[in-house]
Amino acid sequence: MPKVSININGQDLSAEVEDRQLLVHFLRDDLDLTGTHVGCDTSQCGACVIHLDGRAVKSCAMLAAQADGKNIITIEGIADGDNLHPVQEAFRDNHGLQCGFCTPGMIMAAIDIINRKPNLDEKTVREELEGNLCRCTGYQNIVKSILSAANR
């Protein structure tokens, strides 16, 4: 079995993983980091988005073994203690979620969008959310939350 050394949310850890184990299952089942969700079987919904060396990726479309030597941030790793991350704040203020299932992926995607795109407008946000599905909100308030977070 492959051995991995990963820094997750600021903590170094080493573990043995099954060759075929997906990263999302390693996070959820082995590390109990259940904030990262599995929303589909087909790598389309984006509920499992995490940051791998600072970039948003789908943790259901990569193996745990591929994460060896990498830095990973999950939804659990973005708040500063009791202080929410500005993007989390913005989602709360703007009612950017209803059932909340897609929210961890949305927020991790949003942070990546804001990092990459300095002058965000609504059209860009909507295009950039291509890889994240929400079945409640119709995206309206998610877009609003991200635009609001970009200005914080």
């Binding site: 492959p2 060759d19 075929r20 997906l22 079987d41 087909t42 790598s43 389309q44 984006g46 988005v49 791998l52 970039r55 948003a56 990726v57 789908k58 259901c60 479309a61 990569m62 193996l63 073994a65 591929q66 060896d68 995607a109 990546d112 969008i113 990459r116 950039e128 291509e130 890889g131 994240n132």
Partner: protein, 265 residues
């Protein structure tokens, strides 16, 4: 997914060794097609060879009249490379339109062309820009590389090292993305060289990407909307599926071609 052995390698020689010893092994590039395919149990390689640790496969190089891109360069890296943005903006915009941002952060140019999905974007750029595909064994022209559906000229123990694109006078890629998957339902890449025009089409042909020579002939004398309108793609040999029948798809190709021509003149 079915079980397999995961091997991470640091050199092309190690890849060759495993491919030679184990005919059921497969190379894992960005994994954005392969891993979802394996999750559906549609592929069952014995060994996955992770090549993400081979740094010499990650580069964008300016060769003056061409640019060369290492096979493990991600779509995001291509779309944001200053060299690509300056010298071949149509390729940067093609890369920026693949899948979604998360896929673009992992998926690679080498993975895309080696898979040769009939609806993938990169094969059009290779054909249209008369790219050379460099492998661990040889150089293959794009014309000879793409053979058919998910089929390339690569041997079982061959791995793509880089793709070298010629710089045209101007070029444009237009695609009609499938609203769900973002794969091309029709994608047209037009490149204008000195006294020459290439038109490559993806998402449409039953045998995958192809050069649309009738359209090239029509555009070679004069790149005009009128000339583009004078040729229509025949629905014969064009894919039909739940998203679009062959007639509709053929017309999408006509429309994407017109849009590309309008953009170029």
């Amino acid at each position: 997914m079915y079980n397999f052995v995961y091997e991470k390698v640091n050199s092309v020689e190690e890849v060759e060794k495993i491919l030679n010893e184990d005919v059921e092994s497969k190379i894992l590039a960005g994994g954005q097609t392969l891993i979802p395919t394996m999750k559906q149990r549609l592929a069952s390689p014995s060994t996955l060879i992770d090549i993400s640790g081979i740094d010499e496969l990650k580069f964008v190089k300016d060769n003056d009249s061409s640019i060369e891109i290492g096979s493990m360069t991600t779509h995001y890296e291509v779309s944001s490379s200053d060299i690509v943005l300056n010298k071949l903006p149509s390729l940067a915009s093609l890369a920026e339109g693949i899948g979604d941002p998360h896929v673009r952060n992992m998926g690679t140019i080498g993975g895309s062309i080696s898979n040769n999905d009939p609806t993938a974007c990169y094969p059009t750029a290779c054909l249209s820009l008369r790219a050379k595909i460099k492998t661990n064994k040889r150089e293959i022209s794009a014309e000879d590389f793409f053979i058919g559906l998910f089929h390339t000229a690569l041997d079982d123990n061959e791995i793509v090292i880089s793709v070298e694109f010629n710089i045209p006078q101007k070029a444009c890629y237009m695609k009609f993305p499938n609203p769900a998957s973002r794969y091309a339902m029709a994608g047209v890449y037009i490149s204008v060289f000195n006294n020459d025009v290439s038109v490559a089409v993806t998402g449409a042909g039953e045998n995958g990407v192809f050069r649309w020579t009738e359209m090239e002939k029509a555009l070679i004398d004069d790149l005009s909307v009128e000339n583009a309108k004078s040729v229509k793609l025949s629905p014969e040999g064009i894919m039909s599926d739940i998203h679009a029948d062959s007639k509709y798809r053929a017309n999408l190709v006509n429309v994407m071609t017109l849009r590309a021509v309008e953009n170029l003149i």
